[in-house]
Amino acid sequence: MTVTGRASGGSRPFAGTGRLLRLALRLDRLALALWLLTFVVLAAGVAAALDEYYPLEADRAQFAERARLTPAVLALTGPAVGLERAGGLLAWRIGALCVVLAGLMSIFTLVRHTRVEEETGRLDLVRSTPVGRLAPPAAALLVTAGANAALALALAATLVASGLPAGGSLVFGAAVGAGGLFFAAVAAVTAQLFTSARAAKAMATLLLGLAFLLRAIGDASNPTGAGLSWASPIGWAQRTGAFVHVRWWLFGLLFAAAGALLAVAFVLLVRRDVGSGVLAARLGRERASPRLASVSALGARLHRGGLATWTAGYAVAGAALGAVAHSVADLVSDNPAVRDMLARFGGGTQLVDAYLVAMFNLFGLAAAGYAVAAVWRIRAEEVAGRAEPLLATATGRTRFAASHLWFAFAGPALPLMAVGLATGITHGLRTGDVAGQTGRLLAAALVLLAGVWVFAGLATAAVGLAPRGFLAVWVALVACLLIGQLGPTLRLSQWIMDLSPYTHLPRLPGGESTPTPLVALPAVAVALTAAGLVGLRRRDLQPS
């Protein structure tokens, strides 16, 4: 039997794609609308801020001069090219962030309509109806591509409404959409490799993070945009040159790369059976090890792989961060204006510290993402129907929840410790003070736990009190990311800034540390967690 023979075995492999597409849109409309709203708010907010602070070309040129000399800022944003133009400045400021968000949107959407359907067995049901063999993946791809197209148009419209040229706005929107599409193709491949949707999402997200890291290092060491960033698809999307000098061929490169990945995914798809992965399943243990004797042991079994991956990723990212951080101080040590500007991102007077504060804040927010996902596991097990047999044994709900909460609260300490240590070591090697830097960066990383715990608490409260509204927790996390990113530029009013727990954290390293938030934030987290646990003990187990 040939591969193509199997693939197009049915006479119409795409039959029913339209109906499946409508179903997918029906299921995803709220989530996709929230994603689009995030992009619109982000773009409109930054555009307004930039317009207020840098209204004239002279202002922007002056800023560009400073930005070019500030690798720390370049690592977070992109190459400092064309910043004299209002559109160029905006594209530079939010381009990388938008591509990362579009990538996340694409990964989640694509995996939800491919591997999740397969893992839950819903695909069997769908495939038993007269739909073609390739209709379900085609519908998944179409809905994801459509989301990226809608995103491109929404972004372009937002920029035009903010007074930017239509041509450049369209190119910018298209670049973000093309970047998103590329990561949809990445997810299409990982969805074929792994039998578990979680693993497929984790792997694709890891690759997204790697792409960001590559361009962060590349741009920090090369302000004009040459070098390592060319190895990163996020770098490609940024270099399409909206508002400056459009490089159409980079769109071609992005689409070709996405097409190649989709071809790989297609070959993998038609070679395997429904429900299987590419790696053959191995036999497991005949008896459980004596340690697998409690729900906590089961929780450890379920969480340990993910936590190990996060920790390793944080260690690598920290080592890279420490390696470039020092050059910040070297480059701009004689430019007091830049010191001022960055000091607003951070808290201390040392420029390199301010840079580390800004980066560590991102690690802290991502770690909160890990914690929220770990708490979600409580609900996910309930929805999947796996909580029921557990709770029918002599296992109380609190102990069941604790088996996951333990990882949500203590778990993030490991990746944060890893990033603190790794940054401290590489940064220390360059400054010649390994012991000192490791100590203060470790402390800086661990302080972030207070913010992580607030989100873990919020997620627990949602699981216990309003499980169907859990999406709000993710919305809150994205809102805090936006507040952190936009706040210093936009000069948001203090009460908005105060909504994010991360605003209250001491700006370490370098800033002064007051004990109040380090007591108050955990107290809030404990109160939220307690409320969630009480709710969980009182409510019905609801499989849907």
Binding site: E286, L391, A392
Partner: protein, 313 residues
């Protein structure tokens, strides 16, 4: 000895949906009790209240002498549960799941576990994600049967088992019953219920419409009567009260007579026989209803199903 399960007037709604509308259910200690009813009748809901997974809106529930919601953890040491739809952790092997669930319940009888694995012909080394539906069901069954539990709560436990495994399951339940343990068995398989259960409760739309031994049920219910007549009964024949589903058709064997069929309640039987005596009866057969007929009548929710719990005559 107190009853293993006692539900009185149990109520549970999910928003607009009323799942249990005053359910009564009594399961005596040591009996195998069948729990039947059409899809959506509320069987799983009742079971999940018994397990403390759902909280009842009203009524009274006692399980092994305790409160199923408040004393859940303590009670669960003494029972084992097989859900109708078994979902397992895809990365754990079947053997690991069985050991884990047994240990969470309070202990593992290795010999019994291995013996059950053999009887059910289950390979414990396969990862749960790669089991077939029937094999997933077996994992849950072995974990439950290996437990030394006073009460087994089984929610459609044989859905997906092949006939051979079905008979293994029946043997296992008989052994459990012989050991004096209690079983609550929700099932749609009538032959299984007939083979295993001492008593049954039939529920519909969240209320019990019948409860008793199968013999009681059959005797209490109607008799099926078929009479071959030489000609149509004519106007003189008026069906007495208690006769249902009366039908008169041409004789199926092609003769010139007609076949009169009906069902009759026990109190109406004598009246029907008197009325038939006036007709030219060539042949007469009576038999108790089959189990299928019994259940179909209870399951049928249409107005002429005539199985309303309190029919207005």
């Amino acid at each position: 000895m107190p009853d293993a399960i006692a539900l009185r007037g149990l109520r549970k709604s999910f928003g607009q949906t009323v799942a249990l509308d005053g359910l009564d259910l009594t399961v005596a200690t040591g009996e195998v009790h069948g729990f039947l009813g059409p899809n959506g009748a509320g069987k799983s809901t009742a079971i999940r209240i018994l397990l403390g997974l759902l909280r009842a809106d009203g009524g009274e529930a006692r399980l092994l002498g305790g409160d199923p919601w408040r004393d859940a953890v303590a009670l669960h040491r003494r029972l084992a549960y097989v859900p109708g739809d078994v979902v397992l952790w895809p990365t754990l092997s079947g053997g690991e799941v069985i050991d884990l669930l047994s240990r969470l319940r309070g202990g593992l009888d290795r010999r019994r576990r291995d013996e059950l694995l053999e009887r059910f012909a289950l390979d414990p080394r396969r990862r749960a994600g790669t089991y077939s539906k029937g094999n997933r069901q077996k994992v849950a069954l072995v974990a439950a049967l290996a437990a030394d539990a006073e009460l087994l709560v089984l929610d459609e436990p044989t859905a997906g088992l092949d006939p051979l495994m079905d008979s293994v399951f029946r043997d296992c339940v008989r052994e459990v019953a012989l050991a004096g343990r209690t079983v609550l068995l929700s099932s749609h398989v009538l032959s299984e219920v007939e083979a295993l259960c001492d008593r049954v409760t039939i529920i519909r739309s969240g209320v019990a419409v019948e409860s008793g031994t199968l013999r009681d049920l059959r005797h209490l219910r109607r008799t099926v009567v078929a009479a071959e007549l030489a000609g149509p009964p004519g106007a003189r024949f008026t069906p007495p009260p208690g006769v249902h589903d009366l039908a008169v058709e041409p004789s199926p064997d092609g003769a010139d007579g007609v076949l009169l069929t009906c069902e009759v309640d026990q109190p109406g039987l004598a009246g029907l026989l008197r009325a038939l005596a006036d007709l030219d009866v060539r042949a007469l057969t009576t038999r108790p209803p089959t189990l299928e007929e019994l259940f179909l009548r209870h399951y049928d929710a249409s107005p002429n199903g005539q199985a309303r719990p309190a029919p207005a005559r």
